[in-house]
Amino acid sequence: MTESSHDENIELLTYSEVVDVKGFVGNFDVKIRKKPRYVDMTKCTGCDSCIEKCLTFVPSEWNLGLGSRKTIYKPYGQAVPNVPVIDREHCGHFTTGLCSVCSKICPAFAIDYDQKEEIITKKFGTIIVATGFTQFDHKVYGEYGAGRFKDVITGLHLERMLDTAGPTGGHVIRPSNYKEAKNIVFIQCVGSRDESKGHPYCSRICCMYTAKQAILLKDHFPESQSYIFYIDIRAGGKNYEEFVKKAQREYGAIYIRGRVSKIYEKGDQLIVRGVDTLVGKQVEIEADLVVLATAVVPQFDAVELAKILNIPYDQYGFYLEAHPKLQPVESVTKGIFLTGSCQFPKDIPDSVATTGAASVRACEILSKDELILDPKVAFVDSEICSGCLNCLEVCPFDAIETKEVDGKVVAQVISTLCHGCGNCAATCRTKAANVQGFTDEQIYAQVASIFEVLKKEKLLEVSE
């Protein structure tokens, strides 16, 4: 990240979002909303004195509510760019109008409360979508406490706790009473592989990060004991199986094949009732902390972005690749590429690999002066076209534009966007729209010649 912020060929637009995308491969017009961060990025030196002096605390999103942050803050220590942002919703200056400590303290006079939202339009040749994923909300599981039990956390919470620079300084504590957790129960497949919760797919990353966390727990706190309820261990990857074995053999993680049916409170302990299906017996474990491996789900606004980019997505909201095996990083829309977990759950090596592939594919287009396209695209005969523009309505790829010929408005196909689906040809009343190689005359001629052959070979009886 830091390196990319210094590269002269890379312009980093942080705290911004894509509002609209028009155009096609090589000629994307992208509208970007730059949100006001109320700090002048050109003046700020990143000295952090504003953060130190800020008076208002709010729960930290980065630490998933386990710690707090100021209302002028950097999301995390190594954030790029090294410039804070003001949280307008909670900041004393915006809520009460009384506080302006940060602007008084700033030695570089970088605080600017009057910054406005800015919308810019830029031209791009290709687009790579890497919007990532979010976590499944386990509150729908009544049997796991529906979010009522403070000591039932997710893998990401534990990850923050295990971070020595994190909210607990690397200590694994029980959020209910801040005491050290000794018995830790992991539950795999919470939300994922669960038809009833709408996510029948495997989240792919949980088996490995749970094994890692079990190893780290034993490493940091030798007195701790991890119990892992799993359905299947999916450790397909280089050295993955060995890694899980290591957690079991060397770090004493107890793997129990079965699922947890209920968590309930008894005193200040949590009782986890599961099953060991290999023995065929119920298991009850007194736990200090329960860690749920919640499903990887698409970002909450993934569908919205897909509509802006005009790329297809599956029933869950993951973006669809053009071909699962042969074009794994391309979207169906030319010039738009996919990488990371916005496509399906991926771990770090997979994300790095697909990112490399997507960048090279994007550069491949940009490195050539001319674009080679599939010739089977639609065309409109402007002499016949009546200008009803029905084709414009039915085109799923926005590949129809209008032009004026002799004072008459007619349709025209943008051949780089067209996929040759034939919707326009089927809709056109005047038969002006056709697909190259599949015009009505060509198809009739083919049918007629087949009939000729069949008649000649006496394979077809024609009753006059």
Partner: protein, 187 residues
């Protein structure tokens, strides 16, 4: 050893599917049904094992198990199943199949109790506890099993010697008649 062949493996699963619409092949054997079952420690087969035996076409073992008779139909399994399989419904179907197939039942006493219970309802429209207990204890050949409780319960007014009848007994009988019709209609 011949274990399974693709030709006959789905027979029992298909049969269950056709009878009550529950597809056992959806089961991923996570074991959540067995984990939540309040009676599973008493069962000879765990609920997930019952489903597995249906998956591998072993009706013999399933229909003789005590599990299908001990199931209390609390439906904890059905509610929590990630694949939305109604396991309690399957247990119900299996009970019916076991009686029809005339195999040695895994829990004879449960069947006896059910019969006596329903008979009491048929006659009175509600359960007569004293009759139920006495007839059941006779049926299982332990006539004095609960005898020590009788006097205590009687002195506290918990036992009625003659039992009650409801007013519209005819309507109860109608329920029994129509359920019989429904069962016949299914066959």
């Amino acid at each position: 050893m011949k274990y399974l062949s693709s030709q006959d493996i789905h027979q029992f699963r298909n049969y269950i599917l056709s009878v009550n619409g529950e597809d056992v092949s959806k089961c991923i054997q996570c074991g959540k049904c067995s984990a939540g079952c309040p009676i599973s420690p008493e069962m000879d087969l765990q609920p997930n094992q019952v489903l597995r035996l249906i998956q591998i076409n072993d009706p013999r073992a399933v229909l003789r198990s005590s599990t299908i008779w001990l199931c209390a139909s609390c439906e904890t399994c059905s509610v929590r199943c990630p694949e939305e399989i109604e396991i309690a419904k399957i247990m119900d179907t299996l009970r019916k199949l076991a009686v029809e197939a005339k195999v040695p039942l895994g829990e004879e006493n449960v069947v006896k109790f059910d019969e006596i219970f329903l008979d009491s309802i048929r006659k009175r429209g509600r359960v007569h506890e004293l009759e139920l207990v006495m007839r059941y204890n006779l049926a299982i050949r332990q006539p004095l099993k609960d005898a020590h409780l009788g006097p205590i319960m009687f002195t506290r007014g918990k036992l009625n010697l003659l039992g009650h009848k409801i007013k519209e007994l005819g309507r109860i009988k109608e329920i029994f008649r129509s359920s019989k019709r429904i069962i016949k209609g299914q066959e």
